[in-house]
């Protein structure tokens, strides 16, 4: 019972059940429940920052609207669409895994990773760079001189913290997807065992859901100015 010896059978054609489980159903249900519990912790993690955001948004409504107005809602909307596309490709990747189509699975994983990469590129190299140059980066380069500058800075703290933590989650997701892509290439997944792909799907969709909330909260507050 040496711990370092892999406890999974290596051939994809057979059912693969880890030692502590009795059968595939138990294993699948356990993995699923485990991933959802992890997502519950993420809901609380982001939820705490959103609670703080809600407090300040109600205290400094006009300053937050002014800050939001300076963000480019068009690019935000584009990025939202990009992420929704990546959710589609991820769902299709899970479908490919469930139906045992290895090449399709790999293609959709690659598409999801590319779309995620597009999102991150736009976020870091277009949006954040622009915001920094415009003097809207608190702590680094903040030159906004309008009324309630302090509260506008507070808005931008939230903007960078929320989108930053979201981006970190996406980067981690990209990393895990790269590993899954490698495993798919090696033929590790089949109709009998595709748990990790499904769990990755849950994670990726969750990251999408976070952005679904961040988009209106950050970009659209001041749109009607």
């Amino acid at each position: 019972m040496i711990a370092s010896r892999r406890k999974y059978k290596l051939h994809n054609s057979q059912a693969v059940v880890a030692e502590q489980f009795d059968d595939r159903t138990q294993q699948h249900e356990a993995s699923s429940l485990g991933m959802w519990i992890f997502l519950a912790t993420e809901i609380m993690f982001f939820g705490a920052v959103l609670t703080a955001y809600t407090v300040y948004r109600n205290l400094f409504t006009s300053a937050f609207e002014a800050g939001s107005h300076l963000l480019n809602a068009k690019i935000g909307a584009l990025n939202t669409a990009v992420l929704i596309c990546s959710s589609l490709t991820m769902a299709l990747a899970v479908h490919a895994a469930q139906t045992g189509r290895r090449k399709r699975l790999m293609a959709f994983l690659v598409s999801t990773m590319l779309l995620g990469g597009v999102f991150l590129f736009i976020k870091f190299f277009i949006e954040w760079t622009h915001d920094y140059k415009e003097g809207l980066a608190p702590g680094l380069h903040f030159t906004y001189a309008g009324p309630q500058a302090g509260h506008v800075a507070m808005f931008y703290c939230f903007y960078f913290i929320l989108t930053g933590i979201h981006a970190i989650h996406m980067i981690v997701g990209e990393g895990v997807m790269a590993v899954l892509l490698f495993m798919a290439w090696r033929g590790r997944f089949s109709e009998q065992w595709y748990n990790p792909i499904e769990m990755m799907g849950l994670y990726w969709h969750f990251v999408d859901i976070i952005w679904i909330f961040l988009f209106p909260f950050l970009y659209l507050l001041g749109a009607h100015f």
Binding site: Q20, Q26, A40, E42, M44, A48, G150, C157
Partner: protein, 542 residues
């Protein structure tokens, strides 16, 4: 149940199934992981204990006998951070929970064994950050990291300490996740929810708190680190930031955290009381549901730490009322344990001494919590030694005694050996006496107005402080003795056999120590738990 006169160790069990450092550091066996945690938290406990010793020595004299105030601030901070996050929170869950949960469920291991190992490594990484903070010069924010002191005004190692706690939080989250999935999905055939041991119910409730609460404190600490790096952040008053918001986010976890620290001990006490009264637990369903109730209601009361912070009076009102409510399920448990003891056949081995000590001391701690929940009283005793005495009665008189009782009760199962019960009873009594001498005077000191987190105090408080320090030395001795006899017992203790206590429960049906996969065959459960009436008929109790 066989009554072998001379029990022998099983030939192969989880401790000798494999040798070498790799087999321990890369293990996925939940029982070995429990040992890893046991050694780590004992190490952290000793550091926290040294800090406490230095604090109590300093407080022998009104002008501070030992250290400068700046150093004293670092001492109470590191004492709190280590004792809360690196000893109490992991203690029973990571040691006894990890060891016992799969066995009590009749399973071969937890749902995610590799995640379990990762939890320990994450825990140790967090601990390393905190140890670095300690060695590099310390942190003086208190374990509560209040802003804007921690974000803007201090030059001590706040980031390392906060970062260490942040990382260790993920260890709790993963452990909680593992336990919930294991309890839901890996019960043996016939083991329905209401046949589960009450320890499992307690661990389930604890895991809920881990899962829901820990992420919130994690993000609060991360926000502090971000604010220190960028010199601006959401708690910065210059930007309109409100320090009370930090307190809301911090205490949203840190209050339920105290239930994390007490619920497992309550589970242990439920097991011990029934075994050493040879009697079925009174009110099984009430105890099970009260554990869940404590977990749920415990999330509704965090504002009682903030009555004098500037929080709105109406919020204070709501939190005060809810804090009264949370006492009810705890009281239900105390009544049920007492009813279990009534007309039981009680024996006073060390685990039972710890359990009885728990019941009394937890009651005192809990009742003083009600005083503190009353806003009118809290105005006067907030941030005094009254609060310190209250939570130490619960944490040390309650949680640690539960932990010690649990370690003693299941030691034969974990190690296959018996510890010397005479010495164990003596240390239990030393701990009880030392504890009360240390902390009861602190109720009086707090009531008289001595503030907490101060290195100096008015001279009229000296007598009580000296008594408290004397008690602390006795308490320390009480904790050292078990280290010695447990170590001795691993090598020289008499072989325990599968069920030295003649107790009920799946864990007592397998060998001591258990084989790596816990059971030779998956057990099938057909009976209700705590069947001591049936047991009495089956075996001749000596």
């Amino acid at each position: 149940m066989s009554s072998s006169e001379f029990p022998i160790m099983p030939r192969v069990h989880y401790l000798n199934a494999d040798y070498g450092i790799k087999s321990w550091l890369l293990t996925t066996d939940h029982k070995r992981i429990a040992w890893l945690y046991l050694i780590s938290i004992t190490f952290f406990f000793s550091i926290g204990g040294v800090a406490a010793a230095l604090m109590r020595l300093n407080l022998l004299e009104p002008q501070g006998m030992l250290v400068e105030p700046e150093t004293y601030n670092k001492l109470f901070s590191i004492h709190g951070i280590i004792m809360v996050f690196f000893f109490l929170v992991p203690s029973i869950p990571a040691v006894l929970g990890n060891f016992l949960i799969p066995i009590m469920l009749g399973a071969r291991d937890v749902a995610f064994p590799r995640l379990n190992l990762l939890s320990w490594y994450v825990f140790m990484t967090g601990g390393s950050f905190v140890l670095y903070a300690l060695i590099a010069g310390g942190v003086d924010t208190g374990w509560t990291f209040y802003t804007p002191l921690s974000t803007l005004y201090l030059n001590t190692h706040v980031m390392a300490a906060a970062g260490g706690v942040f990382i260790a939080g993920f260890s709790s989250i993963l452990t909680g996740l593992n336990f919930v999935v294991t309890i839901h999905k890996m019960r043996a055939p016939g083991l329905t929810w209401f046949r589960l041991p009450l320890f499992i119910w307690a661990m389930y409730a604890t895991s809920i708190i881990f899962i829901i609460g820990t992420p919130v404190v994690a993000i609060s600490l991360a926000l502090i680190v971000i604010e220190r790096i960028f010199h601006v952040g959401i708690f910065d008053p210059a930007l309109g930031g409100d320090p009370i918001l930090f307190q809301h986010l911090f205490w949203f976890y840190s209050h339920p955290a105290v239930y994390v620290m007490i619920l497992p001990s309550m589970g242990v006490v439920s097991e011990i009381v029934t075994a050493f009264s040879r009697k079925k637990i009174f009110g099984y369903h009430f105890i099970a549901f009260s554990s869940i109730a404590i977990a749920v209601i415990g999330f509704l009361v965090w504002g009682h730490h903030m009555f004098v912070s500037g929080q709105s009076i109406y919020a204070g009102l709501v939190f005060s009322a809810l804090s009264m409510a949370v006492a009810i399920p705890s009281a239900v448990k105390v009544f049920n344990w007492t009813a279990t003891l009534y007309k039981g056949s009680i024996s006073y081995e060390a685990p039972m001494l710890y359990a009885l000590g728990f019941i009394g001391l937890f009651t005192i701690g809990g009742l003083t919590g009600l005083y503190l929940a009353t806003t009118a009283i809290d105005q006067h005793v907030h941030d005094t030694y009254f609060v310190i005495a209250h939570f130490h009665y619960i944490m040390v008189g309650g949680a640690v005694m539960g932990y010690m009782g649990g370690i003693h009760y299941w030691w034969p199962k974990i190690s296959g050996r018996l510890y010397p019960d005479g010495w164990a009873r003596v240390s239990a009594i030393i701990i009880f006496v030392g504890f009360n001498l240390t902390f009861f005077p602190q109720f009086i000191l707090g009531y008289l107005g001595m503030p907490r987190r101060y290195a100096v105090y008015p001279p009229e408080f000296q007598t009580l402080n000296v008594i408290s320090t004397a008690g602390a030395s006795i308490l320390g001795i009480g904790y050292i003795i078990p280290l010695i006899y447990f170590a001795w017992s691993v090598r020289y203790g008499p072989v325990a056999g599968p069920n030295p206590w003649k107790a009920t429960g799946l864990e007592w049906t397998t060998s001591s120590p258990p084989p790596t996969h816990n059971f030779e065959e998956t057990p099938v459960v057909t009976e209700e738990p705590y069947g001591y009436d049936r047991l009495a008929e089956e075996i001749q109790v000596a």
